[in-house]
């Protein structure tokens, strides 16, 4: 099988597409309830209108650490779980979803359990006052100085708070029949500007106030044609408004009907209510509904997850092509790479559409974008060199960055609103994109160099031609990296000058970007000056990985400066590990040539001159 065959190419494309869209055809497990449609209902949370499916996934991610809940038999989707939490709290309270890893937390709670066991809200609720007190104490300590126990107890308290707020978003947790309550309210209340004159009981008034204060998201939309996000209301706010003003949005009754039907295990009524409410929203807020629908599909497809899996496959295929059937396997890997890149791009574009923003807005999206850009460059390299190296390296970076992105998404919604100073699409599209492209290309150069070192030192497969083509790739990519990181950094300075009158403030993140520029400049100058040859270039490019990872993540861990995004303690060992591994590869890179398994004579010219000079 030396030549690639067109039908296999088409088969690969078809299979990949099939794999990617397959999640759309998984049916709901909860008998009879139209949970998919329910999941598409838009609500407002953290300043953004999003489908409740997103709220469910992110909340479950924060509380439980996964996007689906593993049960003894089968799985429960996030939206099923959230519906239960909001509308059937009695049952949800007994689900063991709070995993506790810290032994000290368990001791504090007096629980005789192993770390990693999970507990239900019911079990933990008895300890709420202690948890709250301990968390409050821990919060007084500076974030960076907190012990693992203090961090864990704060996290636990936040998870419990989130759960508690979710429970009280639609109805007061434990309400059996919300619909009847609302109907009673409408019949028996005589709205009055003074709530106590309306005939409402103190308890009911108190419970509405509680709902308004505790509710997590805003389920009640503004009255059409008003489409102002500021006009969305919490359930409790709408009910309080009814007592004084005498009217509420029909959505209140719709949610109440859904809640009662769900609690009473009555799918027909529930589905009818969802369907009616969806139809009304479709009339009132068609654009929001459309976006919510797109986002739900996006959630279901999880394109970045599929892409991650595919990148592994591509990497394996490309590596295999160096051993057997170089032409056909290399070709298949390339085709798969292009298809996966299209998927990656679609994911990126969907996010941009949903957010209405350029691709990079936070650390999460920077990871997604770095992977995307590295793969794009890798495709170009592969197109020119056709030796599988572009595919393998691109796939590796694609996989690693998406994995990082996956871990970054654990904190909840990855589509956050932009804080005041960042709220300019112009700068986000230029400065941030340029700098991130700089990161991506520096990483690509570094990983290409890793390929060189690994293949050269551990396998006999690195011949002279491959080595010199790798050198050209690395050199070209370093040029590219210099261009983007330099321009991006200066653009950042101009942005800073525009927004607070300081071109350069020696802020850690700025310094990090400057380090990348300097390092790339050093590589180029060292190469031009003949200070390094082929292997020296590779070793220097590997160090670029360390510089870039420091600039990307390391500076955030210092917990200082304008760009600090909070202390990421859990990522710290990984960063150290990564840097150590790169140093190890650099050491291998400078071993004497006879210790390498690939024996190829290095270029003979005493002064390796710039590629430009050679090619001209």
């Amino acid at each position: 099988m030396k030549k690639s065959r067109p039908w296999i190419v088409w088969l690969i494309i078809a299979l990949t597409i099939g794999y990617v869209v397959s999640p759309l055809f998984q049916r709901d497990r909860r008998n009879g309830f139209a949970m998919e449609k329910f999941g598409r209902l838009p609500v407002l949370l953290n300043g953004r209108i999003k489908p409740i499916d997103t709220v469910a996934r992110n909340s479950l991610l924060i509380i439980h650490g996964t996007q689906t809940l593993a049960l003894e038999q089968g799985e429960m989707s996030a939206i099923d779980w959230l519906a239960e939490v909001m509308m059937k709290a009695d049952e949800a309270d007994r689900r063991k979803i709070f995993i506790i890893w810290n032994p000290e937390t368990l001791t504090m709670l007096g629980l005789t359990a192993k770390p990693g066991e999970s507990f239900s809200f019911l079990e933990l609720s008895a300890h709420l006052p202690e948890i709250e007190q301990q968390a409050e104490l821990a919060q007084k300590v500076d974030a960076q100085l907190r012990s693992p126990f203090q961090r864990d107890i704060i996290k636990l308290f936040e998870r419990l708070t989130l759960y508690h707020r979710l429970e009280n978003s639609v109805e007061v947790a434990g309400t059996d029949d919300f619909k009847t309550q609302i109907d009673d309210l409408v019949q028996n209340i005589h709205p009055s500007p003074v709530p106590m004159n309306s005939g409402i009981t103190a308890e009911a008034l108190q419970s509405f106030g509680f709902l308004a204060e505790t509710g997590y998201f805003y389920p009640i939309p503004p009255v059409a044609p008003n489409d102002d996000p500021l006009q969305w209301r919490k359930m409790g706010e709408s009910l309080l408004q009814f007592i004084t003003a005498g009217h509420f949005h029909p959505a209140v009754r719709a949610w109440a009907t859904m809640a009662s039907a769900f609690a009473a295990n009555n799918p027909a009524t529930f589905n009818q209510a969802v369907s009616n409410y969806s139809a009304q929203l479709q009339r009132d807020l068609p654009r929001r509904v459309w976006k919510a629908k797109i986002e739900t599909v996006f959630n279901q497809l999880e394109p970045f997850y599929s892409a991650m899996v595919l990148y592994v496959l591509i990497f394996v295929l490309a590596c295999a092509s160096w051993l057997i059937w170089p032409e056909s396997l290399g070709r298949y890997a390339f085709v798969l790479l292009v298809v996966t890149f299209v998927l990656h791009s679609l994911g990126l574009i969907t996010r941009m559409y949903l957010e209405g923003r350029p691709p990079v807005t936070n650390l999460y999206s920077s990871a997604v974008f770095i992977g995307w850009a590295a793969v794009l460059l890798g495709i170009f390299l592969e197109k020119f060199f056709r030796n599988g190296i572009g595919s393998a390296t691109a796939a590796m970076i694609g996989f690693i960055t998406l994995l990082i992105a996956h871990h970054l998404s654990m904190d909840g919604d990855t589509m956050e609103m932009m804080r005041a100073v960042l709220d300019t699409n112009g700068w986000l599209a230029t400065h941030v994109v340029c700098v991130t492209l700089g990161y991506a290309s520096t990483f690509l150069a570094g990983f290409l160099a890793l390929t060189y070192i690994v293949r050269g030192a551990f396998t006999p497969s690195l011949d002279r031609a491959t080595a010199s083509s790798l050198a050209r790739m690395v050199y070209g990519i370093v040029c590219f990296a210099t261009l983007f990181s330099f321009v991006g950094t200066i653009l950042g300075g101009i942005w800073a000058d525009q927004s607070w009158g300081r071109f350069w403030g020696w802020d850690p993140k700025e310094n990090g970007a400057a380090l990348i520029v300097l390092w790339n400049a050093i590589i180029l100058h060292a190469r031009w000056g003949g200070l390094v040859r082929q292997r020296g270039l590779m070793v220097m490019a590997v160090f670029g990985n360390i510089v870039t990872s420091w600039s990307w993540f390391g500076v955030n861990m210092l917990g200082i400066g304008l760009h600090s995004y909070g202390f990421m303690e859990s990522a710290f060992p990984w960063l150290i590990g990564f840097c150590a591994s790169q140093l190890a590869f650099m050491c291998i890179g400078v071993l004497p040539p006879h210790l390498w398994r690939s024996q190829f004579a290095p270029a003979k010219t005493p002064r390796v001159r710039a590629l430009a000079d050679l090619s001209a």
């Binding site: 104490l137 707020r165 007061v172 029949d177 308890e203 108190q206 509680f210």
Partner: protein
């Protein structure tokens, strides 16, 4: 200082010329003749320039005339935080105590050194409000010394008067060696409750050393004084940056309802935190049984009527609705304390959803005083069965207001 702008201005045209006339062989024609100048003047000049001068008006006394200020700026100084409810607390440390930097919520910190190199730690800490109450805190200290908790406040320590207020003096010694070198540990403590905050003064260390410092510690407690002008008039530092206030989550514990419900708690029942709807909330934890959840809810009016409520519960356990006639047959009445409860007991035919056991609801309805009372137990069939008698006992003990 060297008038440096001159030299830098001289250096500029060089660059400009190279830029404009690219054909010129600029290295030899232009730059080389000026090299001596570059070397002799520019370099030392730049250094002197950098080290010597900065902004020209720095460090100069200026004199100017301005119209009289009539601005309200002085009056607009924000009052110091407004949190001046609690008086400021001061103390005098006995000689020989080494003051340590205050840190975190430690407002005062001292190191006491013994003759044999052992040390004891003295701290003054303030917590907002009651900080869990006297007993809880004494028990916290007892726990540090591996002593069991006590339940009587009278055993906790002795009151003493400090600065015209009651302070609680605590003296605890461990029953067994605590420190690695096998010595017992002792805690001396003073707890001072003030409006809005509670202060804890504590000395902890090896038994012998702390024992020898008891008088000094009591003297330290006696030195505590309060002033009503808090240190706020001297703010240590003013925060001038834009602060981003994270939204504070609402408290988890709901506000208490006006009158708590009175009842006797059956064995194996535990109280749970209340939610606004629930007047009382329990879980039952009988040995070898799964937990069940018990709730007491009162709603105004008929709340939909008995039939609707029963059918709702039937729906929850996957049973079909019934009509009025069947209702009369399927429920029983329980008379407790002169109240006539309607007792409903429904169980699912089999496991529901992903559960392994049958679900069961045991509930009592009472219509009285224009309110409907719902007392409901929900859980697995077997667990509810074993708690059925406890449930009726509970009904009898409840005092319906």
């Amino acid at each position: 200082m060297i008038p440096l702008p001159l030299t830098s201005r001289r250096a500029w045209p060089v660059l400009r010329i190279c830029h404009l006339k690219p054909r010129l062989r600029f290295p030899s024609a232009i730059v080389r003749p000026i090299w001596p100048f570059v070397r002799l003047v520019l370099l030392p000049g730049v250094f002197l320039f950098l080290s010597g001068c900065g902004r020209s008006d720095d460090d100069k006394i200026t004199v100017y005339r301005i119209p009289k200020e009539t601005s309200p700026a002085m009056a607009a100084q924000p009052a110091a935080d407004g949190a001046a409810t609690a008086p400021a607390v001061h103390w005098v440390a006995p000689s020989g105590w080494e003051e340590q930097p205050a840190s975190g919520f430690r407002k005062g910190s001292f190191l006491v050194k013994g003759a044999d190199g052992k040390t004891a730690d003295v701290s003054a800490i303030s917590f907002p409000e009651q900080a869990g109450g006297l007993l809880a805190n004494v028990n916290r200290w007892r726990n540090q010394l591996k002593l069991g908790p006590i339940s009587n406040e009278a055993d906790a320590g002795t009151p003493m008067s400090v600065a015209g207020r009651d302070m609680f003096f605590v003296d605890l010694v461990s029953a067994q060696p605590i420190t690695p070198d096998g010595a017992k540990s002792r805690i001396l403590g003073g707890i001072l409750a003030l409006p809005g905050e509670t202060w804890f003064f504590k000395m902890i260390g090896p038994d012998q050393l702390v024992e020898s410092q008891r008088d000094a510690f009591r003297q330290f407690l006696q030195s505590v004084s309060l002033t009503n002008a808090p240190a706020a008039s001297m703010p240590v530092a003013t925060n001038t940056g834009a602060s981003t206030n994270a939204p504070t989550p609402p408290p988890i514990a709901p506000a208490q309802a006006a009158a708590p419900l009175q009842y006797t708690l059956p064995p194996n029942w535990q109280e749970k935190p209340l939610t606004p709807m629930r007047l009382a909330s329990f879980k039952t934890t009988a040995p070898n049984e799964k937990e069940t959840d018990v709730s007491v809810v009162a709603l105004p009016g008929e709340a939909g009527g008995d039939l609707a409520n029963v059918n709702r519960w039937r729906g929850q356990v996957n049973l079909s609705p019934i009509d009025e006639a069947t209702l009369a047959q399927s429920v029983e009445h329980v008379n407790a304390n002169g109240h006539d409860f309607l007792l409903v007991d429904v169980a699912s035919a089999g496991p529901i959803g992903d559960k392994k056991e049958k679900e069961r609801i045991l509930a009592a309805i009472l219509d009285e005083n224009d309110r409907s009372w719902f007392i409901k137990m929900i859980g697995e069939d077997a667990a509810v069965e074993s708690q059925k008698s406890a449930f009726t006992d509970f009904l009898r003990s409840v005092k319906i207001p």
